[in-house]
Point group: C2
Chain length 324, copies 2
């Protein structure tokens, strides 16, 4: 008997009691098994009222991102139908990579309440305290050549910015290559990993971290001035389940657009959400610092800079700082 089955029955009768006898009959298990399962659900944070005469009633569900909790919010066709949920992981990307290597399918999702070794770009950490934010990794298996993988990264940034905009009504900005800013501070970050061979991609792991309900004082001092959360910018708490559902929907839609219409549409959406054209930027890339004016992002996701001497430079990785 899965948690899902018993929760489904309890949810079908939101205010009424369901007797142990009826539950036992409908789930085809013993009454002792029903009783044990109720205790298990309580240990996960479910508030369940029990009465010797009337049976069981679900009072409140905990704010968990398990498959059974998220299911009723999900509006996707296939993405996130299978959620691998963990209270804690080293990193959701590492676990998703492991599962994909073992054959996990496109659209399977790994979620953790906290990450012990949450990873950011370029080997950095991603601050991942428990239960307030969203840390997830999505497995994709696009039938595209490896050189197109950067477009999948741009696609994920567009979808994440889209979900933030839709939920908050605010206007997130994509910062090249794939951070998302709200009012100039980082609210989300992406770390995408690829397994590929000469001619094809085995899989892509889209790692996405979004700061949802962190308060300002919860951020480590070093990043307090450059990081933010949706709650901080919106002034109200975020429903993690609703936001997750919205994010997965955006990802599913943009991915379908990419596969059907190609990279051009993604690039245009990215450009619109990044507003980088014409900005004076300083880029640190592979130990080198370059200053110039951002001209565009090309179809490989590289940043095109116009240097002070008028020449153009193509930058494929690095950190961007906007200048006046």
């Amino acid at each position: 008997m899965m948690d899902d089955d018993i929760l489904k029955l309890l949810r079908e009768h939101p205010s009424a009691f369901l007797s142990g006898e009826e539950l036992s009959r409908r789930l085809n298990v013993s009454r002792t098994a029903v009783w044990k399962k109720m205790n298990h659900l309580r240990s996960l944070g479910y508030e369940i009222e029990a009465s010797t005469r009337s049976g069981y009633r679900l009072i409140q569900s905990p704010d968990l991102l398990t498959s059974s909790e998220v299911k009723s919010f999900l509006k996707t066709k296939w993405m996130g139908k299978m959620i691998h949920y963990f209270p804690s992981l080293d990193s959701t990307n590492s676990k998703a990579y492991e599962l994909a290597t073992k054959g996990a399918e496109e659209g399977e999702v790994v979620i953790a309440e906290s990450q012990e070794k949450g990873r950011g770009r370029l080997g950095r950490n991603w601050f991942s305290p428990p239960s307030l934010n969203l840390y997830l990794s999505v497995i994709l298996r696009p039938q595209i050549p490896p050189y197109q993988a950067p477009l999948i990264t741009l696609m994920a940034a567009v979808a994440t910015a889209g979900a933030i905009k839709k939920y908050s009504g605010l206007h997130p900005l994509i910062k090249w290559p794939n951070d998302i800013l709200l009012k100039g501070r980082k609210v989300a970050g992406l770390l995408n990993e690829v397994r590929s061979e000469t001619d094809r991609i085995h899989f892509v792991i889209l790692g996405i971290g979004v700061n949802l309900n962190l308060d300002e004082k919860m951020f480590p001092k070093e990043i307090r001035s450059i990081a933010t959360s949706m709650k901080r910018e919106m002034g109200q708490a975020i429903s993690r389940k609703e936001f997750l559902s919205s994010l997965l929907q955006q990802l599913e839609e943009w991915y379908a657009i990419y596969l059907k219409e190609g990279g051009g549409v993604i690039l245009n959406a990215w450009r619109e959400k990044a507003q980088i054209k014409g900005k004076r930027v300083k880029v640190t890339s592979w130990g080198e610092t370059l200053s110039g004016i951002a001209v565009d992002v090309d179809s490989d996701g590289a940043l095109i800079l116009k240097m002070e001497d008028g020449k153009q430079r193509r930058v494929v990785a690095g950190d961007v700082e906007y200048r006046r």
Copy 2:
């Protein structure tokens, strides 16, 4: 006590006997342990003469590609100093990928006598019968952005062609993207796999299969007319250890050149060994068939075709057929 230690002692006295007592003393193990080790070595194919009065003498070593057999042939500085040897594997690439994921270092090599599921490009098989050929995978950890990974593939093709030329005196041709031909037939193939994230490569697995001592009749009928072996083209058997040593040396040298001087040198070497410029080719790529004249290969390893309408097309993956 490692195989290596006892073999080293036996090899230091190629014609003389070494007494069990001396071996036991110099290896700091019991005489029973020495006796057991001799039996173990015999089971691997070592021919060891034993005399109650005189002791042990190494008559002949088997043709195995173990670390201890290859060691005395190796002329590299770092590549192949650690060889993970297996009588049989699903595929050397899969094992190397697994080891690299667990932290195996740059230059570690996986070798198998046979592959149960030897893989070629585009999900095809690579015919991998035991003990006559060479199947190896090399772990590299270049500090380069992911988009440069194709250059590593070109580099490996150049090195493999170089080793074949040096050993055979014949002139191998690279067939885009990374097959090696002798007299028009495939003698070697490369399958490279990459683990990367947005801005950097975690590792590259160079998978290389070379047909060394296969006779014509040993090839499956379907590939007999398009595949060959070095033995078949040279008319004499190949020393697998010598060839392996030569291949690893070429890889080490070309990799150093690539890291020091960049992709341009690799591209030029590749162009010289591929002679593709101006050839009429038919390319099957992602379900589409294109005919045209090969113009060049660009810095991303893509084939540039001039189509019949005069337009240029860039092809990143596929199968090439040369036409008259």
